[in-house]
Symmetry: C2
Subunit: 418 residues, 2 copies
């Protein structure tokens, strides 16, 4: 056994993240139909190419008129006006509105020249012979949205990297983006290692467990905006491992493995890093779980070798792989958003390294609380589903105490089922 | 114009929601391969069919031994043991560990009978002739995960309606669900109304705007777990509207329209509700925006007629359509989760009806703050993308003041516990 396995270069998480982000290789972009781009990441800056509204828009159904002509109007003192025309949505007024006149107008329609306010239809009464009674005094501008009030031409509305959801879709449609430039989904090969791993459809066998990491990571890849490629479990033979990885590196944008990075005799990734022609960025991070997490740069691609237990794989993906995926799809905020929350229970596990404990946030009465996910049992795998944050427990000391205001990293970017 | 347009039956939002949820018609289910079910909603209860771990599992690489034989061991006082065998992950120990013996064991491997603790390899030294030096005193149970510590057989792990993400995928894989029963995605037909609407790829024309609601709603449908079917803009002719809707009702699970529910002359949905053979649940809700929102039950399907402006469409979908979609896919918590947050600015717009103002949450130093989305401009459409909650402003009064602790409805689904 090589002594290298014990003598690793320790980096802090922040260094590890910066090392990874140094290798950002932007994804190519593609144009996609608007109806097909939901959940994708924008690859362009969206700038307003016209004002919104682009005409003086009526905010109500009613009558467009001159406010000055309604002085003193009320339910008891109606003012009679001549109705010039009817202006539906989408049509253009055919005449000006002058003194003593009003134009029947629909919500969203163009306010005719001459008119400076719109009275709601409920404040009027239709009379015979194209006349109308006005029952309320109006002020200039009432119920009219001026040109450009919502958006002015040139306003920057969205930046690259933004995930396209409902509000983004509305903006793109409004400004005529029938096709949208988005980043191609990075293809991420996922390998698990370990001769103990069974296929999901295999019956349980003594000493063996089903491969859950590959599916968990595939879902994490999708949540991050990538396209997972679940590969067969890596064999024990180092030469075969090298061959399998080299082959897939040609076909994907990055590779994620789990397991095989520890100090055991069969840790195939450690073997690989000793024999390959790639560059090892680091092979130990000062964190729990997942301290043996290693990342290498090989043939122009990153290889993330995550620690094998489910919790460590999950956390390693979130802290290293997801920021990289966000980065290659143009996001400026690559790392998880952070906040602080009140810990609702003692967390007494200290550690020589900082811990990133899966947690569940709770907002109540204006305060933010957090609990370790699955606090009643020290569940490694089943509590992953209950985590929406990672609680940061500093190195040394004895963990954190109830009511401590602790740092938390937010995991949730909303999911998209596409 | 029918007087019905002005004399509507007003319901409170809570009544409207209950009326809609009364018509829940559960989606059929389908079996999907595990790798294809991410983002879908579970249609089954997932119960542990075996313990986790299902064998006494070593938590470290090292030596399995009897703790009692390590009394007094330290770096200065090593204890020598005979190594019986090597137990890799996934294999079965071939012999018991007795007094004076130890078995080399890998992380995740089966602890052999006789052994009651595992010492980390870093605390040992390999000797010639299958012997090992132990440098630490061990306690019974050290570095062994007992059978069933994480999960016991029969534990209920997940309930129907839950969205399958990474943690759920790990659970499903662990318990052998190669195929997963999920709810079929409800197909949702989306119609916009209005002769002012242009296709997204059309050049802007005077008085006209591009149809953004259909795309926004399509994205909302996807976010809720459904499958949108964007239909052509509804014509002005009431008979044609009826024909178009009847035809699509055969092919989808629900229909959402926007516009045409107000008091204007061309409000085609109002016309429809006056002439159809369906049941109108309500045609006015005490809320802003979107008070003319109407819902009908027709030929066994719900027709949600949302108000036409983008903000009202967005809010109407969230408050009425999304709960229904969640309901027909088995979620017990159908309405949005609520919390309270400190308003960071005065919101001085009062209203005779409760307001649901799109807002952006901010967590800082353990407190939850909220701001109206797009507060600097009264943007109707462009600020939808910045909203992650709806701020509830009670009816009457003068809005809400800075520092008020206000009710907010969370638009992003929080993690729930099963």
């Amino acid at each position: 056994m090589s002594r290298f396995r014990f003598q690793r270069k320790l980096v802090q998480l922040e260094e590890a993240q910066q090392a990874v982000l140094h290798y950002i290789n932007m994804q190519k972009t593609e144009d996609v139909a608007l109806a097909d781009c939901f959940g994708r990441r924008l690859a362009m800056t969206v700038t307003a190419n016209h004002p919104v509204p682009h005409f003086r828009r009526s905010g109500v159904d009613g009558y467009a008129l001159q406010a000055s002509g309604t002085n003193g109007a009320s339910a008891d003192q109606e003012i009679k006006l001549d109705v010039t025309e009817m202006i539906p949505c989408g049509s253009i007024p055919s005449m000006q509105v002058g003194q003593g006149q009003a134009a029947r107008i629909m919500t969203g329609a163009v306010v005719p020249d001459g008119a400076d306010s719109v009275i709601m239809i409920e404040m009027t009464e239709v009379l015979p012979d194209h006349q109308v009674h006005i029952r309320k005094q109006m002020a200039v501008g009432d119920n009219i949205t001026p040109i450009g009030e919502e958006v002015e031409p040139g306003d920057i509305l969205m930046l690259p990297g933004r995930t396209i959801r409902s509000g983004e879709a509305a903006v793109l449609a409004t400004f005529g983006f029938a096709r949208v430039s988005v980043f191609r989904k990075p293809r991420v090969a996922i390998f698990s290692t370990g001769s103990e791993l069974l296929e999901v459809d295999s019956p349980l066998a003594p000493g063996k467990i089903r491969n859950s990491n590959s599916y968990m990571l595939a879902a994490q890849v999708i949540e991050a905006g990538g396209e997972p490629v679940i590969m067969p479990v890596l064999p024990d033979d180092p030469a075969e491992v090298e061959r399998a990885l080299l082959q897939v590196l040609e076909q994907v944008d990055l590779v994620v493995t789990t397991g095989g990075v520890s100090v055991g005799d069969k840790d195939v990734l450690v073997d690989l890093f000793e024999r390959w022609d790639g560059e090892l960025l680091f092979n130990k991070i000062a964190m729990r779980p997942g301290s043996p997490t290693s990342v290498g740069y090989w043939r122009g691609k990153l290889l993330f070798a995550l620690s094998g237990n489910p919790g460590a794989s999950f956390v390693g993906f979130e802290l290293l792989v997801r920021p990289y995926i966000k980065g290659i799809m143009g996001q400026t905020e690559k790392l998880h958003a952070e906040t602080k929350a009140y810990l609702q229970t003692d967390y007494s596990k200290g550690s020589a390294y900082p811990r990133y404990v899966r947690g569940t946030l709770k907002m109540q009465d204006g305060k933010v609380y957090v609990n370790p996910a699955g606090k009643d049992k020290s569940s490694i795998m089943t509590s992953i589903k209950d985590a929406d944050c990672l609680i940061y427990i500093p190195a040394g000391g004895k963990g954190a105490a109830r009511d401590d205001l602790v740092r938390v990293l937010l995991l949730n970017e909303p999911i998209c089922s596409l």
